[in-house]
Structure formats: structure tokens, C-alpha cells
Subunit: 346 residues, 2 copies
């Protein structure tokens, strides 16, 4: 029986979700997955930090109110976020990094990952920023230190995509992919098809908590672009930077455009895509595309995400599921831990 | 570098497809997958058999005409199918079993698998019969002899389903699944939605080579039932026999039924499903179901297959892709070999 010590960096929805799963399922995991998790540290810029090498009470952490400095209420805790101490000194085998995504330079998450990997500690993260902006460097660092660096949740939350492509589709001759990689924009397009204007659909998405107050990262394709960079670099051995991916969104699509597409048996989708070209390079884009109704992504409605892999031997193979969510993304971190456990145990 | 010796049992479309992949891609596999395949034996009830421990020429095998006794034309070959000799005496590390599916007792494929496993030889197969009817016995035998017994292709051909559920979705709390597991019946329903009668749609499916002269295994759900047994036993730890699964097909669905469903925003699909019940047992069925248009399987048209997994932590996660095809199913055998290679190398 393995018991991994884990430190949670960032204690918003995702790592709270992971703490909740640990509180509820650790005994079950020990029986079915062959390992348990003990939380030895938590740090969060807003909540503060706490470190206990003997193990913290996951249920107590989950119950903590989302108030500034709240980690000071835990025995040994403080209102200050001692990130570097928690990462390097908690005795953690694994760091679960789930701070906010910074699409400009990936910080401070990239630094948190670097500290852990340099210290020989495995990293699992659902954060797009460090992978899209510093993926090659961090992967090389992990390889060099002989530790795992896993980030299945950075693309479609808990819906597996990197692992499906790398493991289950290994040898199929992956040539490229097309994806619906942003639930908010897909929800907006779905509701516009049902008669709402763009503005009405965005307002509804905001009410439902899908869209931010400033929805531009979702509807202008910037969020999708980070995911395309991650997938293209991971699955097609590309070395794309964010600026290499052409990017446009759905804000220019009118109700009339939607109706016209419907009338011709087509539908608009915001597609993040990449493909190998004949010269061996990789071309990638984010744009609204008109899909025929028979396209594997045409039927993906609402806030669901999907990736359709284009393979030499199988044609299109498509995976769809949730693309966001607290517990869903926490599962992605768990699935990364399962992967590193299985890689190590043989 | 590993080189596996492989014997092909049954030399119809699937194992010819595998021989073709070996002829075309062995060098590439050695570089990217870490192993190559050398064919050391072929046996087929119609074509005869050949055995050469030094290796047969894959391209020569692929070019062989589909004529009775044709394997006698290969040096050392004979018009007789010495199945047991090829399986036990060819020196094979792996048997690729791809003979016809016998839905009644799984023979002779089950015996071929048994001979190989008893001899300590890995088995990969795309054959539903042995798995649905003798799965527990054969899996136990493989475990006992310390060899691999893999059959990803028995459910959806090359589209990965067993491995996605067992690996990528491990820990997600799988509660059940619903699947479109027969391309012919789904094609028939898709064409009926487009205006054809049942008889016309079946005739068209026969012309296209999707449906057999006797289409009953496809349209009455018998093919799907075998796949439901395989998936339920594999993924939900059920111990279902074929007779435990209630089974009805699509032949009673009329054009009027289809039109009525369309008018209410629904669609008919032939669904193979299983789920854990509250008492811990597993309930499974094959039947035509009316799905709302928002159901993850509602948009799966034509001959495409799909499985939607119902999980505690992620809700529905769906995989779709081809459910048949020569090269597609050959890829499934390759994916099984990749899995056994990766399991062994660590």
C-alpha cells in the first residue's frame, strides 16, 4: 500500500474538490487504486497557508470558509501564503497546482511547478498557463529530475484527452485534431440556434456561471488557443507558441448567420484545431467554422467539450464530456496521480 | 528493441489488415513503439497454414489470393489448416486470433485461445465469441500463466473503449454505460430518418457491405448483446451470461414511429446498456430507445459506433468512432500488442 503525501497549491474550487474527494474516498482508493493521499500542506494567496507533515484533516479543510486568511484557523496555519515553504518543506511527494491561469506569462504557477520539480517532487496541475507557455521547459525539468509532470485537466477538465490520444490511440497515426474546447462559447452558439441573440446568450451564460463578467477569453477564442497549443505540442510534437496560432472568436456571428447555417443543414462551432502538414510542420488555428450536420462535432451541444482526433488508421475518433467543473477538474488531478502511481509501480 | 514473433489464426480481413500494417509499418513501429512484429505462422480453415520460425514475408502473405488452400503456395505451406501446430509450435510470443464469431459456443476460437494461453503465449483477439461466452475462464487462465489476454477490438473495432474506461476513466466511479454498438442498425435508423423504409434501408446497407445477407444479428440486437456482455463483465465486474441480457431490435420500428419521434425532438437508437443497481447487481439490456436530441448518443449517425459512460464524478463521457473495418480492427490488435508491450517493459 502506497500513501502519497500531497500539498495543495491554490485552494479554490479545484483543490477544494480534491480535498473533498480525499475526505470521502481515501479508503475506497486504498482498496481499488492501491494508494491513499495524505494532505501535508495547503497554500493559497488569499487564504494563507498551513503545513503539517503528519497530515491535515481533509474534511476540516473542505469546511473552511472562503475568507481572507482563513487558513490561520487551522492548527499551525497562518494568514500568509508561504508558497515556497509549503512546496519545498512540507515533505510532499506530489504537488497539486491549481492556482489561477495567467495567459500572459503563466506566473506564478510556472514558478510553483519549477520549485516542485527542481526539488524532485511530482507535479499534477489543471492549469493551462504553465503548460501552454512553459511546457517544454517544465517537461524537460521533470524528465531530468525523474519525476512526473501530468496535466490531463488543463485541456478538458476531467474528460480524458491527452491520455486517450497518447495511450489508447498510440500507433493509430494521429494527423491532427479538431475540438470544441470552450463550454461557454459552445453554450452561446447552442442558445443562439434556439433563438437568442449573441448578447442574450452571453448574459444567460453569465447568469449560469459559465461565463466571466468579461467573457472575451471565452468568446474571442483566447482560452481555446491555450488548449490548442497544449494539445498540438503534446500530441503532434509541435513546438508552437501561443502567437503561432491564428485566433478569432464567435462575437461576429449574427442570428442571421446561425439561421442561414440551419437552413443549409450546417451549424457554427468555435473550433480549435491543429494538423500536421505535408512538410512536417504543424498548422493550428482557432476560428468559428461551419460544420455539416454529419461532422462528429456538430452534435456537441450546450457546455459540453469534445475533441475529434483525425487518425490514419481509424479516421475520426471523438471524445466528449464535461470541460469544466470543480469536482470534474479535481478528478483530472486524481487521474494524473493514478497515472504516476501506475508508471511507478511496475 | 523487442521483436515479437506473432502467429495469425484466421486470415480473413482483420489479420490480412494486420499483415499489411506489419509490411508497411514495422520499421516505423520499431522507432516509435519500441517493438517490431515478425510473422512466424498463419493458419486459416479455408486457406491452409504455414509456419516459419525464421519469419514469413508479410507482403507476400497480403498478396495471397482468397482461394481455397492458397497458403500451400507459400514456401513450406500446406492447404490444410494445422491450427494446433501453428499455435503451439511456431515459436510465437503472441497469437492474433481473428477467426469468425460463433455466437452459440464461441468455438473454435475459444479453443484456439485456450491452446495459446495454456502454452504461455499472449493472445490478442477481436473475436466477440470467446470473450462473451468464455471470458472469465480465459482471463483466469491468462492470469494463471502470466500472459496477456487482450481484446479491445471485440467491442468497437479500433475505437478504444475498454482501455479508455479502465485506464483514462479509472477512479471516476463508473456506474454504467449506454452504447450504439452496431453500425448496420444505426445506419438503417439514420436512413429511415432520411425517408427510407426499413426494408429499403436494410437493402441499402447490404449493398454497401454493412449488412449480411441475413441481417438479423444486426437488426435484432444479437450482435449488440454479445458486446454488452463483454463490456458489463469487463467494466462493471458483472458476471453476465448472454441469456441474462434482455434483447430486442429495430425491425418493429416503422417510418411512422421515426417521423413521430422527429416531430417531438427525439430519435430512435438501438441501445446496448448496463448499469449497477442499488443492490450491487448489474442490469443489462438491448433495445430501441427514444433519446432526446440533447442525449450524447443522439447525434451519432450512419455506421459510427459510440459508448457513453455514466460516471459519478464526470457525468457522461462519450467515445465515438468506427465500429468495424479491416484496418480499423487490425489496429485494435496492434493496440492490444502495444498494451502488453508497455505492461511488460516497466
Amino acid at each position: 500500500m502506497t500513501d502519497y503525501k500531497i500539498a495543495l497549491v491554490g485552494f479554490g474550487g479545484v483543490n477544494r474538490g480534491l480535498a473533498q474527494l480525499i475526505a470521502e474516498r481515501n479508503a475506497q482508493w486504498r482498496a481499488t487504486l492501491g494508494f491513499g493521499l495524505t494532505i501535508v500542506g495547503v497554500t493559497d494567496l488569499f487564504l494563507g497557508s498551513v503545513l503539517n507533515r503528519a497530515g491535515l484533516d481533509a474534511a476540516e479543510l473542505v469546511a473552511l470558509p472562503a475568507e481572507k486568511g482563513a487558513l490561520a484557523r487551522i492548527a499551525g496555519g497562518t494568514a500568509e501564503a508561504f508558497n515556497e515553504t509549503v512546496i519545498k518543506q512540507s515533505g510532499a511527494d506530489i504537488i497539486a497546482e491549481a492556482t489561477f491561469t495567467n495567459p500572459v506569462d503563466g506566473e506564478p504557477a510556472a514558478t510553483f511547478c519549477r520549485w516542485a520539480l527542481e526539488s524532485g517532487i511530482h507535479v499534477v496541475t489543471s492549469n493551462k498557463g504553465p503548460i501552454a507557455l512553459h511546457g517544454a521547459e517544465l517537461k524537460a525539468l521533470a524528465r531530468q529530475r525523474g519525476v512526473a509532470f501530468e496535466y490531463e485537466g488543463a485541456v478538458m477538465s476531467g474528460t480524458p484527452v491527452i491520455r486517450v490520444a497518447r495511450q489508447a490511440l498510440a500507433g493509430s497515426g494521429l494527423q491532427g485534431f479538431e475540438g470544441i474546447l470552450n463550454g461557454t462559447s459552445n453554450y452561446v452558439l447552442t442558445r443562439m440556434k434556439e433563438g437568442l441573440s449573441f448578447a442574450e446568450a452571453v448574459a444567460e451564460a453569465q447568469q449560469l456561471g459559465y461565463a466571466e463578467a468579461d467573457p472575451s477569453a471565452d468568446v474571442e477564442g483566447y482560452d481555446v488557443r491555450l488548449k490548442v497549443v497544449i494539445l498540438a505540442n503534446e500530441l503532434l510534437d509541435a513546438r508552437l507558441k501561443v502567437s503561432d496560432v491564428t485566433c478569432s472568436g464567435i462575437s461576429a456571428i449574427s442570428a442571421a448567420d446561425i439561421a442561414k447555417a440551419e437552413a443549409t443543414g450546417q451549424c457554427w462551432k468555435l473550433i480549435g484545431a491543429a494538423r500536421k502538414t505535408s512538410d512536417g510542420s504543424v498548422e493550428a488555428s482557432v476560428e468559428a467554422r461551419l460544420l455539416p450536420r454529419t461532422h462528429p462535432l456538430a452534435g456537441i451541444g450546450g457546455a459540453i467539450n469534445a475533441v475529434s482526433f483525425n487518425t490514419e488508421l481509424l479516421g475520426a475518433v471523438t471524445v466528449s464530456g464535461p470541460g469544466a467543473g470543480r469536482v470534474e477538474t479535481a478528478f483530472a488531478l486524481l487521474s494524473d496521480i493514478i497515472a504516476l502511481h501506475n508508471a511507478g509501480k511496475r
